[in-house]
Symmetry: C2
Subunit: 383 residues, 2 copies
């Protein structure tokens, strides 16, 4: 191991879980995050408090780190290109990030290589949306090309009447927009895949995702699909990772339609909420795998040790303020239940405050436990 100082842009829960894994290996972590009490803060060796777009702060992070990585993709790729020119190591590479962070460029790139994506086109004026409705039918999805997560930056257009509102809502002619056909999916899945500096690749079992209000609610691993679907998804993911020249962990989200056709929905060049199950469910967690990838270490075994269900713990409706977690005792009374609390000082409705993973010999029984855990484990505020 020639490198031991890792710089992470972002100190949220993904950063925190990465630090927890890396500390086992004796690594040092420097994080850049504007919030003094962000989840990774208390366990990082150094915390540079600063905005993700602050060139000077990112430069400082690079100076004290052997390798730079990031826990979210909405950062200024050009700034990273500049650092790379100076000789700093940044993984995934800024050129890969550039393709991914613009959703239109991402889809265009995938389509160029013949990979299956929903129909899409650029929106330059509102008339482009009108034309798309004729070609794709309703519903369709207006998306801003940059930024956005957990459904933010997306608008589902159900009728002609929605078009103007959607266009205005997402910033109209002031922002880069694209329009996408809606895939009437029977399931959403995601594939975690890792690629090392040498090109070595390792792929995780397929995960099945259930969203509610555009936020991930449940991940089930392995996904309840036919074997051929898994094989097809794996092929698609391997090809995607290869053409993107990804380094570290990527998450590739896909739709499965009624005929088991697959369409790539979105790519995250980082660890992903739908991969949290790997901490207890797999031989190598996504966080450890990411570190192995960016440090030039051999990638780890991705096999499932036990079947797993992950549920997100979101801030309860009606509670805003200092975080209070209730129900941990009851949840831990069940075997195979692992509770993760991110340590965010304040809660608010739908904020991602933690997650629980339930491992079991089979998904059906893990799902039953998950329902119980969801009912009793709640994130509320202190008063």
């Amino acid at each position: 191991m020639n490198f031991k100082n890792i710089g992470i842009i972002g100190g949220g829960q993904l950063g925190k879980m990465m630090v927890l894994e890396g500390k086992k290996l004796g690594l040092h972590f420097n994080i850049l995050d504007p919030s003094h009490d962000c989840p990774a803060s208390s366990i990082a060796d150094q915390h540079i408090i600063g905005n993700f777009y602050d060139q000077e702060k990112i430069q400082s992070l690079a100076e004290i780190s052997d390798v730079i990585t990031y826990e979210f993709e909405h950062i200024d790729a050009d700034m990273l290109v500049e650092l790379e020119k100076q000789g700093h190591r940044i993984y995934p590479s800024p050129s890969t990030l550039k393709i991914i962070q613009n959703k239109y460029e991402q889809k265009n790139f995938l389509q160029k290589y013949g990979l299956s994506v929903p129909k899409f086109q650029k929106v330059v004026s509102i008339e482009d949306i009108d034309r798309a409705t004729e070609e794709y039918g309703f519903p369709l999805i207006l998306k801003s090309c940059k930024g956005g997560y957990d459904g933010k930056g997306n608008y589902v257009i159900k009728t002609k009447g929605d078009i103007k509102k959607a266009y205005g809502n997402l910033g109209g002619s002031h922002r880069d927009l694209m329009i996408e056909a809606y895939i009437p999916f029977k399931m959403e899945i995601s594939v975690l895949i890792a690629r090392g500096i040498t090109g070595e690749m390792k792929i995780y079992p397929l995960a099945e995702n259930i969203h509610e209000n555009n936020i991930l609610k449940t991940t089930i691993a392995p996904a309840r699909v036919r074997r051929e679907t898994e094989e097809k998804a794996h092929k698609l993911a391997l090809k995607t990772m290869e053409i993107l020249k990804g380094i570290g962990i990527f998450c590739i989200e896909m739709f499965v339609d009624q005929e088991d056709n697959l369409f790539i929905n979105e790519i995250a060049p980082r660890t992903h909420n739908s991969g949290h199950y790997t901490i207890e469910g797999c031989s190598t967690s996504q966080f450890y795998q990411h570190l192995r990838g960016i440090l030039g270490l051999p990638l780890g075994d991705t096999s499932l040790v036990k079947e797993a269900v992950m549920i997100n713990l979101l801030g309860e409706e009606g509670y805003v303020g200092k975080t209070k977690v209730t129900g941990v005792e009851k949840a831990l009374a069940l075997s195979g239940v692992y509770v993760h609390i991110y340590g965010k000082t304040d809660t608010k409705p739908n904020r991602k405050m933690g997650h629980a993973t339930i491992v079991d010999t089979n998904v059906a029984s893990a799902l039953k436990k998950a329902d119980y855990v969801r009912d009793i484990l709640k994130i509320i505020s202190e008063d």
Copy 2:
């Protein structure tokens, strides 16, 4: 969960691994350790730099913590009794610690309850040793009643000629000494056992330990013993934990003689080197289990997920100075190998610098990998 601030006396590798587990649950950790760069330091929320015998510092630790625990047993139990009187929660309780930290009291206590220990007696003068040689024969072991670990504070007396040297070496009449019969063991084993505040107990699979120069070299789980031996050891451990009213994790080391008789050797009221295999080998690691115990949470499932071999990574002979780890890449190229580096700034011969756990479907194949890993993974100094 009503408590979230945990105070740990000691910030070595055991403290570090406890913090890593507790951080998943969003707990806060305060540590007391004299060394500014001790392994737990960079991930603890607060580090009080101070001696373990510094009453004022321990008091400060108590003030900012909801529960106090410790990662080693050589602390002033009377100081803890005082804190307990003030209303602070300390687990394991100071009264339990008092029994254990004096090896003579410990053995006496166990014997009183009819638990099997090697023959022993107090040494008030050198003549007591002479008398014991007649009763027990050679070899026998002179031990200082307090302090000592990894064989320090023990002296093996092989002939009459050793007696004077042994007595002088361990402090003679200036220290409390005891003499113990040597058990011609065919195996050393240890049992990890957890007890909660409610009296609930959970016991881990038997671990087999191989020592070299009195330092643990290898732990094999499950131990290669007959089923009846495991049952007998479990019974002995359960009874021991019950009479000691232990809270949290305890490690009970035993000798197995040629006829499969068991003798309790030593008890550690804390997580233990021979329990590191539980991190990847068991459903609940010893560190997580300890926290569950002292926080009043239900204890976790102790079952073995995969068979495991743990090897200690000691500072190589001939190297003193800034720590350098070599061979990590090669070790991680094998599946099922997990490398832990404690992050100690300086190495010296035989210092515990890290460990590696190898999990596999069977011990035999894990042992083969362990030999390979031991050969290539080395802790040396930078120059």
